[in-house]
């Protein structure tokens, strides 16, 4: 992996129903961490475009929890989980459940590493409780992925 890129890398983890995401940001770990715990910031980037995100609970601290709803005119998508560990500025461990999709729960571990030049590398590992759960999550990308891919391109072109 070269430094200075912002490419999102997604890998399967050998022998585990897990997915690992690696991404770099042009901001130090403290700021990336803050954008993950400050709910006013979270709502601005976490939810898929075109869906409104309503936060019903948000205690981003060790032992805390969260619950939010993504909604559009086709329906509501409810998510909840616990914050197992929130350790500024480099580590968040939380559970994640997509309500109504069986009893599956995902364990998400995010770590931030400081990079030269005031940058940060984020590594997020999502460990599912079954291979089926992971595949269903990957499949969920089918619906919005293409559309958002183009929006991303627009954004990129506009920012140059």
């Amino acid at each position: 992996m070269s430094t200075g890129t912002r490419e999102t890398i997604i890998e399967a983890v050998d022998g585990l129903p897990a997915v690992r995401i690696t991404r770099e940001f042009d901001a130090p770990p403290e700021r990336v961490f803050d954008a993950h715990v400050d709910v006013d910031k979270v709502v601005r980037w976490l939810g898929p475009r075109g869906l409104t995100m309503t936060v019903q609970r948000w205690d981003a601290e060790t032992g805390g929890g969260y619950r939010y709803v993504h909604a559009d005119d086709r329906g509501e998508y409810r998510f909840f989980g616990s914050f197992h560990e929130v350790r500024s500025p480099d580590r968040i461990v939380q559970t994640f459940t997509f309500e109504g999709f069986g009893d599956s729960v995902c364990l998400e571990t995010m770590t931030l590493t400081e990079l030269p030049g005031g940058r940060a590398r984020l590594v997020a590992t999502s460990l599912f409780d079954s291979f089926e759960g992971r595949d269903a999550m990957l499949a969920s990308g089918m619906e919005t992925g293409v559309e958002e891919g183009y929006e991303k391109l627009d954004e990129l072109l506009a920012s140059r």
Partner: protein
């Protein structure tokens, strides 16, 4: 479609089967040829191939007595497409986070600092 993907992922969850698939990507091979580098029986290798076959990843062709195992490339295209679309979804999310972070950089007076 989802069932198929689940079978594909399950088949590829095993390191030996992934290794077999990597070798089949280079060229077709018989069961005996595939078994060669592993310290397992031909029967065990046959079992792995059946799992791959069941997932639609490989196919046994009927070339005389040889019956080489052939990799079904389009299944990999499917898999790649799924992962790529998920990747784009994640990328779109982080592009929004980029924008937020960039905005903060230009307006450094945050709530925490002024409080």
């Amino acid at each position: 479609m989802e069932d198929r993907l689940t079978k594909v992922f399950a088949a590829l969850a095993d390191p030996t089967r992934r290794d077999m698939v990597a070798r089949l990507a280079a060229a077709d091979a018989t069961v005996n040829e595939l078994a060669e580098p592993y310290d397992v029986s031909v029967q065990a290798v046959s079992k792995h191939i059946r799992v791959l076959e069941d997932a639609g990843l490989v196919r046994r062709s009927r070339v005389a007595q040889r019956r080489p195992v052939h990799l079904e490339a389009e299944v990999f295209d499917l898999l790649t497409a799924w992962i790529e679309r998920y990747r784009r979804q994640v990328e779109a999310r982080y592009a929004r986070l980029d924008a937020l972070l960039a905005e903060e950089m230009t307006t450094p007076a945050t709530d925490e600092e002024t409080a």
